[in-house]
Symmetry: C2
C-alpha cells in the first residue's frame, strides 16, 4: 500500500519517519508494506529524506490510483477539508489528526467516505496517544454510553497541576507552559477551553450518534481559577480539573459542557497530572472504563495516526466503517438545567450573618475553611439541583458577592 | 447476521440478553440486525426465553450456513477447542471469553481462522471490560511494545486492598472475597497467580508476536504477603500489587513474570483498588498508556464479547484479522537474570551487626522502619541488579533470616 501525507509539520513528519523506519513492524502488523509516496507541503525540504517525495498539487495524489490512503496533518478546516473530500471521493481512505476538521466536518466526510467505500479515521484527533475513538466506536459498541468526562487538554492540566501542587499563579504557570512549548503564544484555544470543546464534541458525536458542533456546548476555561479556589478544593478533598463532560439525561436529551470541576481525590481522574490526558467512560453494560496517556506530542500523535493507517490497510475491503448521523436539533439540553452541586467562594459584608442566610437559602451547605483566609471570605458547597435554580438562589443573596463558582463532578 | 452461543452460563446468558435487548443499538453500530439462533448447552432452560434456541449438537451450528459468528463462553480447553476449531473450519468467526483456551490454543485457532477467512477474537478473555486486546493489536500497532504491567486479577487485588487499607489478614480478606463471589471455593487459580499468568501470556503473545505458554512464565501468588510487608511498603511510599509484567530486554529477549511488586504511590496503577483491573503499556512511540476498568463480572464481560461480535459483523469481508506466530524457543529470558531491586524483610540475630553486614554486602541499601516492629526485624530495599546476583548476596548473609522478598516495580 502506498500512501500520501498532506502537511509535513510536527505530526506529519513523525508519521513519515515511523513509516520509513518501521518497515518490518508494518508488514508484521498490517500484513503488507506501507510506504509514503507523496508528501504535500508548501516547503521544499531540500536535502532532507522528504525532498524527493514533495508535491505541491493535491490532484497528483487524488488522481494516483496507487495511493490507497491519505494522511492529513495540515490542521485547520481549509484547505484540509477540500483536500480530504477530494481524496475520499476518489475512494482513498483518509486518516487525520485534525480535530478542527473533525469537529466541523466529520459528518460530511463520513458520507463521502461511505459513498466511495473508503474509511475516514481520526484516532489522533482526540487525545493523541489515547485510543479513545476506537474504544468508543468498537470496544464499547454493545453499550449505551451513560456519560463520559475527560481531561482532554494537556496544556490546561499542566497549568492546573502547577497551581495546585506548587501554589503557582495562573500567569506564572502559563508562562512556564509556553516556555516548555506546551502552550502557544496565543493560548486562547487551550486556556479558554476551545480545544477541549472540539474534542468533547467529537466524543459526544460518537457516544450519541449524531454530529454535535462546538458552538452548541457551553465552554469555560481556566483563566478565572485562583490559588484560593485550589486551596479550598484541597480542603474539601478535591482537585480542580478542566473536564469535557457529556451525559445522558433522564428526559432522553444529552448534557454536554466544558468547564473546570472540583473532582474528588478518590476518583482516579483526579490523579492525572501534568500534560497527561485521561477519559473516564461509563457504559450501561461495561461500567466504568478509564483510558490514560499522552494527549499530545509528536511521537504519540504520529503513532496514533500510523495505527489508523495500518487499520486502513488491514481493512481495505471492508465496507462498514465508523459513522455517525447528521446533526439533529434539540438533542442537547440547556446546561443550566443539568443537576449539579456548586462550589462557591465569595465575600460577605458580615460573615456570620451571611452564613445564616446562605444555609437558609440553599437548605444547608457544606462550609469549607482555609488557612489565612480574609475574615470576610466564605466558601461552601451546595446540595445538588438544576444549575439555574442554584444560580438564582445565589444571585438573590444579599450582602454576599460571589468571586468563584465551580461545578462539582458527580 | 445470525449467531450461536456455546455455553449459556453467566457470560453466555449475558451475551444472549444484550443481543436480545439491544436490537436497535446493534443495527446502528454494526450496520445490521444480529440475532441469536442457537444456544448450545447441556441444560434445557425450560420456560426461559432461551428454551426454543437450545441445541445439544455442535454440528447443527457448524453446518448451518446462516450462522456467521459463534460465541464460545463454556470455559476450559475442551470441548471448547474442538468446537471452536470446527466452527472456524466452516468459515464462521469465533468470539471467546475463555482465557484458558486462548492461552493454550490461540495460535492453532488463528491459523484455522486465517485458512478459512474467518476471525478469532477474544477481547473478553483478558480483563473483561478493558479494551486491551484491541488496543495492543490495533491502536498501538505502530509501536514496539517496550513493556507492560497490569493488575490482571480482580480477586487478588480485592484481597490486597483489604489487607492494605483495612489491615485485614490474608485469610480474612480471602473469606470476604469468597462470600462476595469474587473468589472460588478453591481460590488457587486466583491467589497463586495462575489466572494472571494466563492473561500475561496472552498479552505477551500480542506484544511480542509469538505464542507464549503459561508454563514458561515464573508465577508467584499472594499467599505469602503479610500485613508487616504492607506496613513497610506504605512507609516506603509504595503499595503491594500482584502484577503480570513483560518487557523487552537489552539482549532482544523478553522478560515476563507474574508476582507481587512494591509499586510507588506516584504511579497511577498503585491507586487501582478493589476488584478493578488496569494495564499500563509503554510503546516506543506512544509512551505510556493506561487502561482501567472492571476485569470481570457478567455484564462487563458480556459487553466485551458482544463488542467483538459486532466487530465480526462489521468486518466480515475482511481477510486480515489479528494473528500471532507460532511459539519460538529461547524468546523468554530466565527471570533470575532480569534487573530489579528487592524489598527484603527478615530477622537478625543482632540488628546492629546485621545492618552493617547488609549495607556492606549490597553496597548500600535503603532501610525502612515500621511502628511496633520486633526488635530483631529488619526491612530494606536493595539497589538494582540481576535478581540472581541479589539472591546470592542474600543467601550468603550470616545471622539474618529473610521472611519476605518482594520485587520493586521499576
Amino acid at each position: 500500500m502506498k500512501i500520501a501525507v498532506l502537511g509535513c509539520g510536527t505530526v506529519g513528519s513523525g508519521v513519515v519517519d515511523i513509516l520509513d523506519e518501521k518497515k518490518e513492524l508494518m508488514v508484521k502488523s498490517a500484513g503488507e508494506e506501507i510506504s509514503v509516496k507523496y508528501i504535500l507541503d508548501i516547503r521544499d525540504f531540500t536535502g532532507s529524506p522528504y525532498e524527493s517525495r514533495i508535491v505541491k498539487d493535491i490532484d497528483i495524489i487524488a488522481e494516483d490510483e496507487e495511493i490507497g490512503c491519505v494522511v492529513e496533518t495540515m490542521g485547520g478546516v481549509e484547505p484540509a477539508f477540500t483536500f480530504c473530500k477530494k481524496c475520499l471521493s476518489k475512494g482513498k481512505s483518509v486518516v487525520t489528526s485534525n480535530k478542527a476538521l473533525v469537529a466541523a466536518k466529520a459528518q460530511e466526510l463520513f458520507k463521502t467516505a461511505r459513498e466511495n467505500n473508503a474509511a475516514f479515521m481520526f484516532e489522533a484527533a482526540v487525545c493523541g496517544g489515547i485510543p479513545v475513538i476506537r474504544t468508543m466506536f468498537s470496544a464499547l459498541s454493545a453499550n449505551n454510553i451513560l456519560s463520559f468526562s475527560g481531561i482532554l487538554n494537556g496544556t490546561t492540566n499542566f497549568i492546573l497541576t502547577k497551581m495546585i501542587d506548587e501554589k503557582m499563579s495562573f500567569d506564572t504557570a502559563l508562562k512556564i507552559a509556553q516556555e516548555k512549548g506546551y502552550a502557544e503564544k496565543d493560548p486562547t484555544a487551550d486556556v479558554d477551553g476551545l480545544d477541549a470543546g472540539r474534542k468533547t464534541c467529537i466524543l459526544a458525536s460518537i457516544a450519541y450518534g449524531s454530529h454535535v458542533y462546538p458552538e452548541e456546548i457551553h465552554t469555560e476555561g481556566i483563566r478565572n481559577i485562583t490559588l484560593e479556589d485550589a486551596a479550598y478544593a484541597a480542603n474539601a478533598g478535591c482537585r480542580i480539573k478542566l473536564l469535557g463532560k457529556a451525559h445522558k439525561l433522564n428526559n432522553g436529551k444529552i448534557g454536554a459542557i466544558v468547564c473546570p470541576f472540583l473532582v474528588n481525590t478518590s476518583s482516579l481522574i483526579s490523579d492525572v497530572n501534568g500534560v497527561y490526558n485521561a477519559i473516564s467512560i461509563t457504559g450501561d453494560s461495561i461500567g466504568d472504563v478509564l483510558l490514560y496517556g499522552q494527549g499530545a506530542g509528536k511521537e504519540a500523535t504520529a503513532s496514533a495516526v500510523t495505527g489508523d493507517v495500518m487499520e486502513c490497510v488491514r481493512l481495505k475491503k471492508n465496507e462498514k466503517h465508523y459513522f455517525w448521523e447528521e446533526h439533529k436539533d434539540n438533542v442537547l439540553e440547556d446546561y443550566m438545567l443539568y443537576e449539579t452541586a456548586l462550589f462557591v467562594r465569595g465575600y460577605a459584608k458580615n460573615k456570620e450573618d451571611s452564613l445564616i442566610n446562605i444555609r437558609e437559602a440553599f437548605g444547608g451547605v457544606r462550609v469549607i475553611e482555609r488557612e489565612d483566609a480574609p475574615s470576610n471570605e466564605i466558601a461552601f458547597i451546595t446540595g445538588r439541583a438544576a444549575e439555574k435554580e442554584l444560580r438564582d438562589i445565589l444571585s438573590e443573596l444579599r450582602d454576599f458577592a460571589p468571586a468563584s463558582v465551580i461545578r462539582m463532578l458527580d
